[in-house]
Amino acid sequence: MNQFKKHIISFLILFFLLNSYSQNFKSCKEAKKKASYDFKHNEIKIDIFNRFNDSIFQSDKFDVFFENYLFTNYNLKNKMFFFDDYKNTKCYNEIILKKIKYKHGNHFIKKTIQNAKKSHKEFLNSNEDSLSKFINSDKIYYLVDSRIRFKGNDKKIMIFLENLISNICNKKEDLESIRIDLTISTKGIVTNCKIISNLINNNKKSNIKNQILLKINSLGKWIPAYLYNQKVNSTINLYPFSNNFSFSLW
């Protein structure tokens, strides 16, 4: 009987070990998949430039400049994000670094920081008129000095979106999850729009998008985003049904 107990215990131990190994393996695989996906979409969600520890980045002035520099010159977004599990970070890191080196060369990280430092010095000594060279007017910036705002009553936009979306989507629970990303050009005009929701199907999404693009510019102009005192293309995120959210008292 004792022998039997021993077998059961060792079986259980083996089972738990194998299970945790396979889970780690699975999450590592997922992290690698995520890294490939992010790289394809020009986003690096890991601190490959050592921004958290290198003293040069400790100043906000350089850190923000660097992020825009990276985006302007290499079309890369380096938003900070860390996986909870160190092993997964390692898996993510491995793929990202491999791909970066393959695309931009072995010394990309070092060179980019050096060039960004030079560019920052130049930027600090620039006058207002020469700041435009630090910007690519074709890009849609996500880090700006002055955000996009509607040139009028915000409610007008929200009512328009609320009515339009409610006509297309019937279920009330679908609506609260919706986020609308509007791209506003330097001229203060809506040039693109993206519907973000897990509950609405693609057909409805494209219907909403087309309707918005058709009508929204007739409601009025927008104050564009500014970066380095220049107007830039940028995106604004809107939650049209946020005013209907339940108010939590506790």
Binding site: K61, F65, S246
Partner: protein, 264 residues
Amino acid sequence: MVNIFIYILFIPFIFFGQKIETYKEIGEIHAIEDFNLGAGIVGYYYNIINPDYKTIKFIEFNKVFYLKKYNINYEIVNVGCLIPENYNCYKNSYKKHMDSLVLKKYGGNFIKNTEKEILKEYEIFKNATQNELKKYINFDHIYDFAESLPKFIGNEKNLSDFINNFIISNFENKNLKQIALSIEYSENGSITNCFFTDAIVFFDKIYNINDYNFEKNNDNKYLQLEKELTKSLNNLGQWIPAYLYQNKIKFNEGFVSLSNYTEY
């Protein structure tokens, strides 16, 4: 020996007790002050299951209704006083005293009756046309909430740089983090007044009248600076006014903090 031990055990409670007293006292003082200025009303919750009445939209309607009809400020606050140095202890005391003052003035059933009135009016409001919405607005009142906030037409960084430079150059030897600015806008978007205030009152302690406020009350220089800044801001560019229920309103944007300031 046992006595000393018991005494030591009670020391923290003695200190906490004193803190609570202070916060309670401040709550009471503020309640009386606010009531004399036009009254405030804090955190009356509707005991209703209908989810429509638990939305931000409905809470906002309550504020609008109380202001228009009774000139009362309605505010939702979590009131509980578990941690002595908590802001809630202040609000707890504030609410208690404000309740008794409001009920004394308007009668014991005031809140219950008004709640019924608001529920009725809210159903009408939900289907109101743009023109009908006007009746809910008190056009003389300077609101501190809106459906659309005032906006500077231009680069916001230039605006914050200008304000910060103004403060830095005029408030020498001051801890700048303590100074904040509130701006009053007219319904056409122009700036009517600027006030320098003590940010600490909001972010740290409740009733900390520091040296700056004392100086301000006794020195005409600050009033002149406020006038100068009002004029300069109007010259700097144009603003889009605040809106409430699709109507342009007067608005007080409280505490434009120095923390907005970023420099490259």
